[in-house]
Amino acid sequence: MTAVIEARGLSKSYGATRALDGVSFSVEPGRIVGLIGPNGAGKTTALKAILGLTSFSGELRVLGLDPCRERDALMREVCFIADVAVLPRWLRVRQALEFVAGVHPRFDRRVAENFLGKTDIRLGSRVRELSKGMVTQLHLALVLAIDARLLVLDEPTLGLDLLYRRSFYDTLLNDYFDKQRTILLTTHQVEEVENLLTDVIFINHGQIALSASVEDLGSRYQQLNLTSEHAAGARALQPFYEREVFGRVAMFFEGRTPAELGTFGELRTPSIADLFVAKMQRTDTR
């Protein structure tokens, strides 16, 4: 199958700031991809370019379409929840359902009503009367009912409490995701989506710091936990990041084998969150 998103040399500047600096990556169908990076790294700019909301230079195809020139056609196949709660405050729940049903060829109203039936949201309520968590549930209900091929989520759970965040991702995984669909999401709460993702793209200063599938991470990156007396020997193998907590040292390596590292201490596959921190704050000279 062809890639859902194919970006080559994607660049975008705001004045003197280069938000995206020649970024290239591709997203395959049926994947859940986390676009992860610190504030101002270019995540949102990348998503905006993918959704045809901003101009850019470089080459970008989304579902085979040019997001800038063929935006309307693209939106039939793509759904997005941008940031949190952008549903207009005056809108009634019933009107939201009716409007999307009226304009979206792939919207199934029954699915949305079904989902809403399991929440405390009443059809007659206005968005302004709902809690933040409920607004997100409403938006999720609309999105779940749209038979789209690509779902883009930009910090979908920002500002929600733990219960809403957990159920948001559970619903997404159980009731939405399948092998025909692709999800691209950005979030600060990496730990929460860690088990959800099939692929990660780290982005920093407008450039890709890492792009890999989660399965590949285990063979490419190693985390070594060891006591400080073994540190000097392990350091000779050039970890790209190390940190010390309570006298224990954690070192992060790229492309080393268990045989090389195992003698110094306890070897494990780094979590995405730890790897992210290691990659962003690398302590080696490179």
């Binding site: 901003t54 929840i81 952008v86 549903l87 304009v103």
Partner: protein, 315 residues
């Protein structure tokens, strides 16, 4: 919840059926309805005015500016009164609608950026062109025609109320029903409504562009140039071309129509509004170069508003 991933046959579109086809007209209709959901003043304000007008008919005094008992004699005179009431009642409704529509146009593309809901609207497969066209359609066609219908209703309502007052003897018999003259007056009102909508179209386009463009205070920023401009011109050159231009764009349609030539209330008696059909110069408006230039400018402004909504990325 719907079905889980497990019960889904690979390749099946979840809806079971192929995507529902929606014509452009259906989507446009939905967009128009949406505008009335968001901007409730568009229908609430004229309705409130209708209520006030009916209230006036129920308790107000009737004064025609002439000695009723002396002049309102004979069938023709009383029919004339009927039509004059019909036209006069429409005025407050139209004035209210004009105000509401102006504020609507200034707000419609601004507030969606302010509350960032534009990101939701843009997540749906509706083009910027259709969205902005729907807003202009509401301002220039839907609301004016709606107010026209409302004005007819207002008149029927008031005629019924006044009729009851006549029967109860609290007001003198000053009007007589005539379906023919009622229709003729309605026809005059409809023609004037349509011509006015065409004439004011560039103004609507200007307000839309300002709404799409400004970062804050759309009302202030839209009125500032038309206030400051003439003053600066007068200070710099001592001329008032800009002022005259604004005046012409605001009132020109009435000059061209020759509204000042209509004399419904004279010392010889009253004339029904239908007589204006022979007096008003509809042809002069329709053949006016300025009307068509204005429509071309409207097209350009509409295009600009669509482009601005499509390509600004500071949301």
């Amino acid at each position: 919840m719907s079905r889980t991933v497990a019960d889904m046959v690979p390749g099946e579109r979840r809806n079971g059926v192929a995507a529902t086809v929606r014509t452009r007209a259906q989507v446009l209709l939905m967009l128009v309805r949406r505008e009335f959901w968001e901007h409730r003043a568009l229908w609430l304000a004229p309705l409130v005015m209708l209520g006030l007008v009916a209230l006036c008919a129920a308790i107000g005094r009737i004064h025609l500016g002439v000695e009723e008992s002396a002049t309102v004699q004979g069938e023709a005179q009383r029919v004339a009164v009927l039509t004059i009431i019909q036209a006069v009642l429409a005025v407050p409704l139209y004035v209210v609608a004009m105000f509401v529509v102006s504020f609507y146009l200034l707000d419609c593309l601004y507030s969606e950026r302010k509350d960032r809901s534009i990101l939701f609207w843009k997540s749906l497969p509706v083009s910027d062109g259709l969205t902005v066209c729907a807003k202009l359609l509401v301002a220039l066609v839907v609301v004016p025609l709606g107010v026209f219908v409302l004005a007819l209703l207002a008149h029927l309502l008031c005629t019924a109320i006044l009729g009851l007052r006549v029967l109860s003897g609290t007001v003198p018999v000053v009007f007589t029903w005539s379906t023919y003259e009622w229709l003729r007056t309605g026809w005059v009102m409809l023609l004037v409504t349509l011509l006015a909508a065409l004439w004011y179209a560039p103004l609507a386009g200007y307000l839309l562009v300002m709404s799409a463009w400004v970062r804050r205070a759309p009302v202030l920023l839209a009125t500032l140039p038309v206030v400051i401009g003439p003053i600066l011109e007068w200070l710099a050159f001592g001329t008032r071309h800009f002022m005259d231009f604004i005046n012409y764009r605001l009132n020109g349609v009435w000059w061209l129509l020759g509204v000042h030539n209509t004399r419904l209330v004279t010392k010889h008696g009253l004339y029904s509004v239908g007589t204006a059909l022979e007096v008003l110069n509809f042809r002069a408006v329709l053949t006016s170069v300025d009307l068509w230039l204005g429509l071309m400018v409207t097209g350009a402004l509409l295009y600009a508003a669509i482009r601005i909504r499509r390509f600004r990325d500071d949301i």
